[in-house]
Structure formats: C-alpha cells, structure tokens
Amino acid sequence: MAGAKRPMERREDDRLILRVSGLKTYFFTTEGVTKAVDGLDFEVRKGEVLGLVGESGCGKSVTALSILRLVASPPGRILEGRIEFMGKDLLRLSDREIRKIRGSKISMIFQDPLTSLNPVLRIGYQLSEVFRYHKGMDRMKSLRESIRMLKTTEIPSPEERVKNYPHEMSGGMRQRAMIAMAFACEPSLLIADEPTTALDVTVQAQVLKLMKEICREQETAILLITHDMGVIANMCQRVAVMYAGRVVEYTNVFTLFSEPAHPYTEALLKSLPRLGAKRTRLDSIEGQPPQLHRLPPACPFEPRCEYSAARCKEEAPGVTCLREGHEVRCHYPINGKKE
C-alpha cells in the first residue's frame, strides 16, 4: 500500500531500508494456483521493528522467503512486484548478487531452531560458515569470531558450546545460536519468522529482549512475523495486518490497538483474552479462514465480515488513507476510538 503513492518521498526518505510493492508470489500445484502473496506493499525503515500479523496460512512466511528469493521453486514463483532494498531491486539481482546479501545484509531467523540447524554439523561450524563465506576469514579466526558472537547472545561457556551439536543444546540456546548467526555480519535488516513460537514462555521473553538489544546496538531493522499480539505490543513500532496475501491495515502500534479501522483487525483484537490473561495468541475468529485458491471475487474478508454490505461483494476495496501513516483496505473502515 505504501508503495502505491508518495513518489516524492522516495528520494527524500534516506531512512528507508526495504520497500515491497505489488509483490505476488503464487504456488502452482496440481490442485490449482495458490495466491499466497497477492499484491503486497509495505516499508521498513532504519532501526524500526515492523510487525506482520495474520492468521495461519495468510502468506507471512511466503512473504519473508520471497524477500530473500528463497521460495521453493517449483511450485512457487514470484510473478511480479518490486523488493527494493537500499535502493536495489532484489528481484532483479543475479543469483550471485542475492547470495552476497543473504546472511550478511539481510538475515533470517526461523520458527523452529531444532529443524533449522543442521543436525550433523557442530554449532561452531555452522556459525563460522557465515564469517568464512561473507568475510573471507580462515578457520581459526572465524571460530574465534563465532565464540565472540555466542558470548553476545549470553550463552554460557561459548568455548564449549561451539563443539556441541544442535541436539545437545536446549531450545532457547539453539535459538540464541540462530540469533548469533543472524547478527554475525551486522545486517541492516533481520527477518524473524515467529522466532519464539517454538520456545517455552519464559524463554520467549528472554529471546525477544536479546533480539531487541542487539538490534538497537547494531541499528538493525526487524521484520517481525508473529501470531502473538503480545509480542507485537512489546516489540513493534508499526504493524501490517495481513489477510489472504495482502496487507489490509497498516499503522503504528498504538493506533492498531486503540483505533483499529479494518473489520478483520477488530475481530483479531476481540478474539484476544482480556488484559491480565497469560496467553495472548490469536487462535480463532469467526468463520472459516480463506481458501487461497478459491477467494471471493471482491473483498476476501467479506464472508466473515460483520460490516459487509452489497458493495463488498461486487467491488474490491482499494486503499484508503485515514490519516498520515494509517492505511486500510476496506470500503467501510471503522472509525471512532474504542472505549
């Protein structure tokens, strides 16, 4: 949405790190075409944490993978759009050029640290790979750097830990090792795809705090993908709410909680347990999640929307800018503060 207008800003905003505009990533399977990401726009600025929320299957992970061009192909394909990172369109880079960016300027943390680490290679080896590949260090030097990196993630006795295999570490420690790997080359952008979902609740908070600290130190921007509204409130400045492969609401975190404008956002917030309750995951909202290969012709949220009107069935809603920095894709945005 943000990319659609304000052509003037493009030059002015030197704090802009990532601008995704009109991104479409489809999967071509035997059952038909799954439009996992279907015209997506958002921006990330220097040092900012942008949250990406939405139900399971709405295309969050595919968005993350598309940015680094890691979508499995076949069946996936990025059909169109631009992913501008520090002025360069990542979709137009050669394989070699995008490899130079992966893991150094843009790095990624995945949901399950156990399956994301190679089970037959030592942690030290997997970490030092980054230094060797991107910084051309030799074996000894890269191992020293790996130990230093593990130290910053507060893993106890890192000199011993580098000799461990992933299965010899706890879940929290494995994710710390992943974080060390991600921050090894001081990236400008970190993409974290549900980095704490697989961890114990107590460990979750520690890992988030750690990410926040290193990011502040290194001035890294984060694209934080999560189900968890609590994590959003805790970490993010701006939030993009995704539904069926598109951003339906895009605003700062305060407005999101106090004045949600899209009916889907409102439903998400309603489904949250009240303040004080422990769990703040969005489990269910009314109705069936959308089926990406059989979407309603106009507004994809229409079958579940309590504000739906005749127009919603006929005409796809465009982007409305309610005020500077608050955009919504709906014919009838909700207005007025909530109690």
Partner: protein
C-alpha cells in the same frame, strides 16, 4: 566414540557364539555322525580307521566338550582339515579368498563411486531428462536377475564377441592388468542390483534432505548451491544410504557363489559348492563359520561409519 566402538566390538561376542552354535549344531542334526556322512553309501571302511578318525575329530567325547574343543580350535584359526585334500580348511579358504575380496571391492566401488554421485545428480536435477534416463536404467538394473545377466554377458562376451578373456582366471600376483580385466565385469554384474538400489535410495534421500529447514537456513546464510549440496545435504542424506548399504553387503556376499560359478572364478563360493558335492563336511562348516564371522565384522564397520556420520546416535 571410542567407548561406543569397544561396546560394539564386545557385543559381537554373543553374536559370534550364536553363529558358532548354529554351525556346530549342523554336525549333530544330521543322522549318524560326520564320519558316516563322509563315507556316504560307500561300503564302510575299515572300522579301525573309522574309530581313529572319530577320535581325531573328538567324536568320542560328550557333545559340550566337542563344541568347546571345536570352538577353541576355531578361535585359534584352526577349522579342521579337509577330508578330500587333507589340507587345513583355513588354508583352503585363504587360498581362494583373494578372488572374493577382489570381487567385493570391485562391486562396492561401483556402488559407491557410481551409485551415490548418480543418485545425487538425479535428485538435484529432479524431473530432468537425465533423471528420466537414470530412472529407467535403475529399474532395469534391479529387475534383471543376476544369474541371467551373468549368463548373457558370458555368452555374448566371450563366445561371440571375444572381448572377454574366455573365462580364464589370472591371479593378481601373476599379471595385475589381466587380472583386473577378467574381474571387472564379474564385479560389475555382482554389484548391479545393489548399484541400482543405492542410486534410487540416494536420490530419494537427497530429495528428502533438500526439503529440510536447515537447507533453507544454509541458503539464507548465503551459501552457494555447491556448498549447500556438499556440506549440508550430503552427510545427512548418506545416513539412510549407509544403512541400506550395510544390508546390501549381505546380499552381495550371497551373490558371490553365483558370480564365481558363472564366470568360473576360483573363489570360496566354488570351494563350498565342490565340498557339498564331495560331502567334505569340514570345508562346508568351516567356510560357513568364516563367512558368517566376516559378515558380522562388516556390520560392525558399517555401524561405526554410521556413528561417525550421525552425532545423534547415543552410545
């Protein structure tokens, strides 16, 4: 790791004991005793000579003592003497063993050096023309029976086209080049089924590994495809392949007898076949005990290789 190896070596002892009991039992499951069998339908020899023979074989002692004597001899490498040639069984085996070892090495070399790279390539270029060819070739490879292929190769090769030395075995020590010439094709025929199997196994294992999260992580770190394939995929995808290879070695050993017979190679397999014909009981049991022990040792080696590949194995 060292501890694991020691434990595995110690755990071989009961297996070998079991094997030895089985082999020993065959002495006693047959009606009469070994000496009767040896003599067969022939007119019984001089009773005095027979008594002497029975004494030499400890047949006049209680069964458990017989077993212990026999086992103690076997442990020291004495498997008794052949009834027909009078030479020690061990000597007869060791004399022919080089043929088998060479056949096995050639077959396994084909399996590993061709099978694994071919499987990897086939997986990496999934659904390509090359993958298609490999698929057809491997299906043929394991549906063609070994004995048929061996016979056809011998017939066509040596009788019609004359590009095979006509079933003339040359020992390696005499002429290495000629020796390898006459062993390569039998070795290949022996390994073909296993080769096809390993290609398919490697292909599916690599495909499976390529889908794993850690491969995505490696790519997200900026690794080149070559590094991803050889560092992150290879070792993981070899783990199931090694397991299958370990089982397949047993199949290969079984195939030796047939390969030797068709290609007229003087190996242990033919020794056993001949001994069965001549009712040379000591050779039969001795060779079987020997082969079973070799198989147990090979399994041990496979297990150790496996532990080296997969650190998750708990010792």
């Amino acid at each position: 790791m060292l501890r694991y190896i020691c434990i595995r070596i110690l755990s071989m002892i009961p297996i070998l004991l079991g094997v030895s009991i089985l082999v020993f039992a065959t002495f006693h499951l047959v009606p009469g005793d070994v000496v009767d069998i040896m003599m067969g339908d022939e007119v019984a020899g001089d009773p005095k000579v027979l008594m002497e023979l029975r004494k030499e074989l400890n047949l006049d002692k209680p069964v458990y003592l017989q077993y212990l004597y026999w086992l103690w001899d076997a442990v020291r490498g004495d498997l008794g003497k052949s009834f027909t040639s009078g030479k020690p069984v061990m000597e007869e085996i060791l004399h022919r063993l080089p043929v088998n070892v060479e056949l096995m090495i050639i077959a396994i070399a084909f399996v590993i050096l061709i099978g694994i790279p071919m499987g990897m390539l086939s997986a990496y270029k999934q659904f390509s023309f090359l993958d298609g060819i490999v698929r057809v070739a491997t299906i043929m490879g394991y549906s063609i029976p070994n004995f048929w292929l061996a016979t056809i190769v011998v017939l066509l090769g040596s009788l019609y086209f004359r590009w095979l030395p006509v079933l003339q075995y040359v020992p390696f020590s005499e002429n290495p080049l000629e020796n390898i010439k006459c062993m390569v094709i039998p070795g290949f025929v022996l390994g073909l089924t296993t080769l096809s199997y390993i290609v398919r196994m490697t292909r599916s294992s690599v495909l499976d590994t390529l889908r794993q999260d850690y491969v995505r992580t490696a790519r997200a770190k900026g690794m080149t495809e070559k590094l991803v394939l050889f560092v992150h995929v290879l070792k993981n995808s070899l783990i199931p392949v090694i397991t299958v290879l370990g089982i397949q070695i047993g199949v290969l050993i079984g195939g030796l007898v047939l390969t030797e017979e068709v290609f007229v190679l003087p190996g242990v397999g033919r020794l056993i076949l001949l001994a069965i014909e001549q009712r040379d009981f000591m050779i039969v049991t001795g060779s079987i005990l020997f082969i079973a022990s070799v198989f147990v040792v090979i399994n041990l080696i496979v297990d150790i290789v496996y532990a080296f590949l997969d650190p998750r194995i708990t010792y």
